[in-house]
């Protein structure tokens, strides 16, 4: 095992709630600074706007966190996001009732989850390779479908109700946002209260011991991948509906965004430890920073740099304060 990881776990006992505090601090800092820099930032519509933008990351993240806690991860989510979106558009365009096609595209997501899970849990392929493989596959398929449809993306001839789900509002809150947050809440419950999450921690902590304790390791991992796939499917479908088009080129670095959010949240990519709330906060931090920089019309080259610095800074900060306390 990696010496750094070893160090990390000695200190783990404090880390949990503690990580959260730091993250809340960072988030608050980001928001205050942004609010000072531009009055456009701290407005209801803008907050709403950022929530919408990070919703998909949180959605996938809420399952991917457990996955990473179990010591696995999924690089294919970005392209699965794109593929399900394209499929949703493609199906509803070709006569499948929109709501049916919504379900189907979510199931397609689940399908990819199953494949990933099977490759990793049963064929024992390193997650990186397995999910990289499905990533390429999903990407190719997304473009092929669009090509079959006769273009680089599936835009035209979509039924009128295609955009309903993504765009209808309850009062001033988008419907999809509510649903997404309900799902996230549900997965928080899964994380906080179910045996599944216990097993995820166990497997991530010590796979061999988990097997010897009779944990159905392979099944658990398969299930987690299934969840990730399904939620990604949902995200892709929603995104397509919001954009009013099925575009294969979305989600280019979605997988990194998700991983960044999770890791900012204090989940170790070696598994065995992690935090759901951390992931949520991590996503918010990334989201608000990006938003603030856009509001200030900062050239996007700088934005990439800042993204990297935030990532390092936040992780570093937690480590530092941890060290001084633990």
């Amino acid at each position: 095992m990696n010496p750094i990881a070893a160090k990390a776990q000695e200190k783990k006992y404090f880390s949990f709630d503690f990580q959260i505090i730091v993250l809340v601090g960072v988030l608050a800092l980001v928001m205050i600074i942004s609010a000072v820099l531009t009055d456009k930032f701290f407005t209801y519509p803008n907050i709403m706007n950022v929530l919408q933008q990070v919703a998909m990351i949180m959605l996938t993240g809420s399952a991917a966190t457990l996955l990473m806690i179990s010591g696995n991860f999924d690089l294919s989510v970005g392209m699965v996001l794109a593929f399900t979106g394209v499929m949703h558009a493609f199906m509803s365009k070709n006569g499948i009732p929109t709501n049916v096609s919504m379900i189907l595209s979510i199931l397609i997501g689940s399908g990819f989850g199953l494949i990933n899970g099977y490759l990793v849990a049963f064929l024992k392929i390193t997650p990186v390779i397995a999910t990289l493989g499905t990533m390429y596959a999903a990407r190719g398929l997304a473009y092929i479908i669009a090509w079959v449809d006769g273009g680089a993306n599936v835009t035209t001839g979509l039924p009128i109700d295609f955009e309903v789900f993504g765009r209808s509002m309850v009062g001033s809150v988008p419907v999809f946002l509510i649903i997404v947050f309900i799902i996230i809440a549900f997965f928080y419950f899964v994380y906080a209260k179910t045996n599944l999450s216990k097993y995820a921690f166990a497997i991530g902590g010590n796979n061999r011991a988990a097997v010897l304790s009779g944990v159905k390791v392979s099944m658990v991992i398969l299930l987690l991948y299934l969840f990730v796939g399904t939620l990604t499917g949902f995200a892709g479908m929603t995104l397509a509906s919001r954009m009013g088009t099925g575009a294969p080129n979305v989600g280019a670095d979605f997988h990194f965004d998700v991983i960044v959010a999770i890791v900012l949240g204090g989940t170790s990519i070696y598994g065995g430890e992690g935090s759901f709330l951390g992931m949520i906060l991590g996503a918010l931090i990334v989201g608000f920073v990006g938003n603030a920089l856009n509001l200030l019309d900062v050239m996007f080259f700088y934005q990439i740099v800042v993204k990297g610095l935030i990532l390092l800074g936040a992780v570093l900060l937690t480590r530092k304060i941890k060290d001084t306390i633990g």
């Binding site: 493989g133 190719g140 990519i269 080259f301 700088y302 740099v305 992780v315 570093l316």
Partner: protein, 328 residues
Amino acid sequence: MNKTAKGSYAGIDLQKLVILGILVFVALVFFSLNNRFLSQANILFILRQSSFVIMTGCAVTLLMISGNLDLSVGSTVALTGVVHAFLCQSGMATGLSFILATGVGVLVGLVNALTVVKLKITPFIATLGTMYVGRGLAYLITDGLIIRDGLPDNFTFVGREYFGPIPIPIIVLIIVILVFLVLEKKSILGKYSIAIGGNSTAATLSGINSGSVVMTLYIIAGAMAGLSGVMMASRLGVGDPNLGIGFEFDVIIAIILGGTSLAGGEGSILGMIIGGLIIGSLGNGLKLLNVFTFFQAVMKGIVLVLAVVLDQKLKSGISIRNKKRIKN
């Protein structure tokens, strides 16, 4: 005991032989479909196209054997390439700028080393951070444009010229490979990276200064990425900040195909080279066969997984046999 030892050796090499088998197989398949695949020029092209991945891979393999990881190489390639072009443009002698730009790679490596070893940030995150920063800086240096004007003619020398019939990049590649094979087999560094990746506490208790070893490895990785970047720039004849997007994955794929485990301890440069060539010939072959571009992506994914399935099956076979042995 005697027997078991042989067995394990056979096992490890058997595994490399299998990848080699896959490579030969891939080659033969493409050859049978298009006899130009094994034409001299094409083989050179494949080698040249995969040369940068393999070059960087040599260093990153050692890094991964020590249980670490570097996602920043792609950005480093872009950054150093841009810096090289920038310096040459501003009138610096090509040779000097070549060295300085490679030095920038070393710097990136140093930053990674410090963040991972001194600040104790998990390699994945640390290098993901430098990945973003490096890419951003590359854009900033050029304002997102491509540096092309006012570059001296010899800017493209290393990248394009031939030594006899062999492109210089391939010569460099061979040298790099030889150097790293020696490093891997004969040097303290090679041995210690295995020790650290295999059992870090054992390494520390044997009085090995893991920190400095890992740092050295990161710096070397940075340097090789830098070298690749500078040579890529020279090959293209410009400084392009969009260079090397996804490069880090190509490197990692080659390494993992080569039988290096992300967990560390296991792994070999030889395997990485074969892995790199598999990816290279795969991409080249599919194009030669005029496979529809988006199917290429799908097939790349599938072949990748298949190759590893085969490899892992074999490994697990061996490790089971070994487990049986360990228990006596």
